[in-house]
Amino acid sequence: MFELLGIPPQALFGQLLLGLINGSFYAILSLGLAIIFGLLNIINFAHGAQYMLGAFFSWVLLTYFGIGYWPALIIVPLIVGAFGIILERTMISRLYHLDHLYGLLLTFGLALIIQGLVRNQYGISGLPYAIPPQLAGGQNLGFMFLPNYRGWVVIASLIVCLATWFVIEKTRLGAYLRAATENPTLVGAFGINVPRMIMLTYGFGVALAAFAGVLAAPVYSVNPNMGADLIIVVFAVVVIGGMGSILGAIVTGFGLGLIEGLTKVFYPEASSVIIFVIMAIVLLVKPAGLFGRAA
């Protein structure tokens, strides 16, 4: 059998598939960030904490209310999204006229507070959350064992990403949103309630983070810092894709997952750095990001 750089191709396919799965998480999370930045001009540092809340609320629903994984996929994003809307109305909306830095500092502070509160209540070790029985087990693909749940994660995130992209780029509602970003005063003059639209957009971005949190709960450790560990990488993904670019966030999310997966085979020690190396190169060559428009 032939080998590719010392790795049998079958192992390589396996790793590429795993990379794609990680890419799904990057894609959903960076999509939420990109939407919020694109339409609100807020760098939402609380995104990781909101992702963590998604995973925690799935646990809360299961433990205290006996509500399982499938309903949680819908209910949790609604709850956390509503929570996001409250944050937007009471705090974030006051900062729109100020520099980006203020929004960043506020959401960073919020993230620390949310993580601290959860840690205080549930401790740092985390909480158990099992894979739903319908998706337990896996398929032998010949070159690797693919757990059913991982397959589901890729499908679910692809659907959500594409639906979001479609709504924003191809529908009338999306056109209003994009117009409101360009010129809120003018759009308001046409009788559209711009503040409400912005509020709902933030809520939607937060709900996306929570959705990723529910998807992550059965496979990753559900602990207060789970979002903080991931958010830095996701920010790098957004920067590479181009701040605020919807398509860029999706494509780079999946793409970087693949590249990271390959690094884990060829040189595992570098796998946590590779994304930042790419970010540095992209910023040097194309400062607006791969899909971003130069300001």
């Binding site: 401790g123 740092i124 070790s125 985390g126 099992a130 757990p147 059965p218 496979v219 602990n223 595992p268």
Partner: protein, 397 residues
């Protein structure tokens, strides 16, 4: 916490006026109160120290004990500052707990310089009683040598001859892999590969797949905390244990298993110095602890109890809190408490007691949320820790 400490101080001041010849002892419990080790140590260790004072009936014996606590945030510089402040201006006599080896090694030096007492429970590094040993340090609960030998040799003896390591890519992970590899080879096994995983990591599936493809009988997890939880959770997802490969957790605490749930963690083999359900003594004490903390104690918290209790017994026996005399007494008296049983403190500062190899129960065998382990083997105190002569400690002649 400060008000509590002040209250205790005021209380002991009041008592002091009552008993004219009382000894005042101040114990500083220093650990991680907000970060990754806050569940295994944290406030629980303070509660354990309070229980030790309660059980010792310190007041009746004319010893006024004050307990203070602080968060070292897992940073050696923060820990060093607190230790100096405690020793220099707040007349702290003993520092207890201190997880995170780098902080523990810093406190080890400061305590020696100030000639006070350091009872470590939370740190793993066996250097504390080896090349970095100090006459003022007692290492109570566990260390890397014990973990490596406990789990490593037991797995090889049970037929796990070939090993593959998932190693957290920093000093602790490398040291653990090195120690366990040595044990595996010495016991007649072989190491067929290892992969260094970035720390901290979230997704271990790629590394687990490499371990699976290696065909090793045992996959050793030379990592800790969230890394361990994530790797075990994902190993279960990829059907690794069902495929016949065993997973060996090399530093696993009961809080980790509780966080994983039995469905995922079942079958995992691990070494520990303490489990709440060992005997009547541990059950009774853990029930009292649970009343205050709402969960069962980890071995680190139990170790704070054992260490503080032994210290207080030595203070009583000496009738003074002079560090040199008390330390000599602690090493001379045998140790005996309900949690660790009978043992001793060696000249290098290593407290020795039995060590246990546990297997995580199947969900159907568990009777409650903390009913997690079954005992596979018990290593007697004199075999559980590194032989005195092998540590390279300068105090050993």
């Amino acid at each position: 916490m400060k008000t509590k400490a002040l209250g205790l101080a005021a209380l002991s001041a009041l008592l002091l006026t009552g008993a004219a010849y009382a000894t005042d002892v101040k114990i500083g419990v220093m650990n991680d109160r907000s970060g990754i080790y806050s569940d295994i140590s944290g406030e629980g260790s303070v509660v354990a120290a309070q229980l030790a004072v309660e059980d010792f009936k310190a007041k009746d014996k004319g010893i006024n004990v004050t307990i203070v606590s602080a968060d070292h945030q897992n940073k050696p510089d923060v820990g060093s500052n607190i230790a100096r402040q405690w020793y220099d201006t707040e007349s702290v006599d003993v520092i207890a707990d201190v997880p995170t080896s780098s902080v523990a090694l810093a406190i080890n030096d400061i305590t020696k310089e100030k000639n006070k007492v350091f009872i470590n429970s939370g740190a793993a590094s066996s250097d504390l009683t080896g090349s970095k040993c100090s006459p003022n340090t007692i290492h109570w609960t566990y260390d890397t040598w014990q973990l490596a030998h406990g789990t490593g040799s037991a797995m090889v003896a049970n037929g796990g001859k070939s090993w593959f390591f998932l190693t957290a890519d920093y000093a602790f992970g490398h040291a653990l892999e090195r120690d366990v590899s040595a044990v595996v080879k010495a016991s007649g096994g072989e190491v067929i590969g290892s992969v260094k995983t970035p720390f901290p990591g979230t997704d271990f599936s790629s590394f687990l797949l490499q371990a699976q493809a290696s065909g090793a009988q045992v996959i050793g997890l030379a990592n800790a905390g969230g890394d361990t939880i994530n790797s075990i959770k994902q190993a279960s997802e990829f059907g690794i244990t069902q495929g016949g490969q065993a997973i060996a957790g090399l530093l696993v605490f009961i809080n980790d298993i509780h966080a994983l749930g039995l469905q995922v963690a079942q079958g995992l083999v691990l070494t520990s110095s303490f489990y709440w359900d060992l005997n009547d003594g541990t059950r009774e004490w853990s029930a009292r602890y649970e009343e205050k903390m709402g969960k069962k104690p980890s071995m680190v918290q139990a170790g704070v109890y054992g260490g503080v209790l032994h210290y207080l017994k030595a203070v009583e026996a000496v009738g003074d809190k002079d560090a040199t005399k008390v330390l000599a007494k602690m090493k001379e008296m045998p140790t005996d408490d309900p949690l660790f049983g009978k043992g001793a403190v060696r000249v290098d500062g290593r407290a020795i007691h039995d060590s246990y190899l546990f297997r995580v129960k199947k969900p159907e065998d568990s009777k409650g949320p903390w009913d997690l382990y079954e005992t596979v083997a018990t290593t007697p105190a004199d075999k559980a820790f590194r032989p005195l002569a092998d540590g390279g400690c300068s105090l050993v002649k």
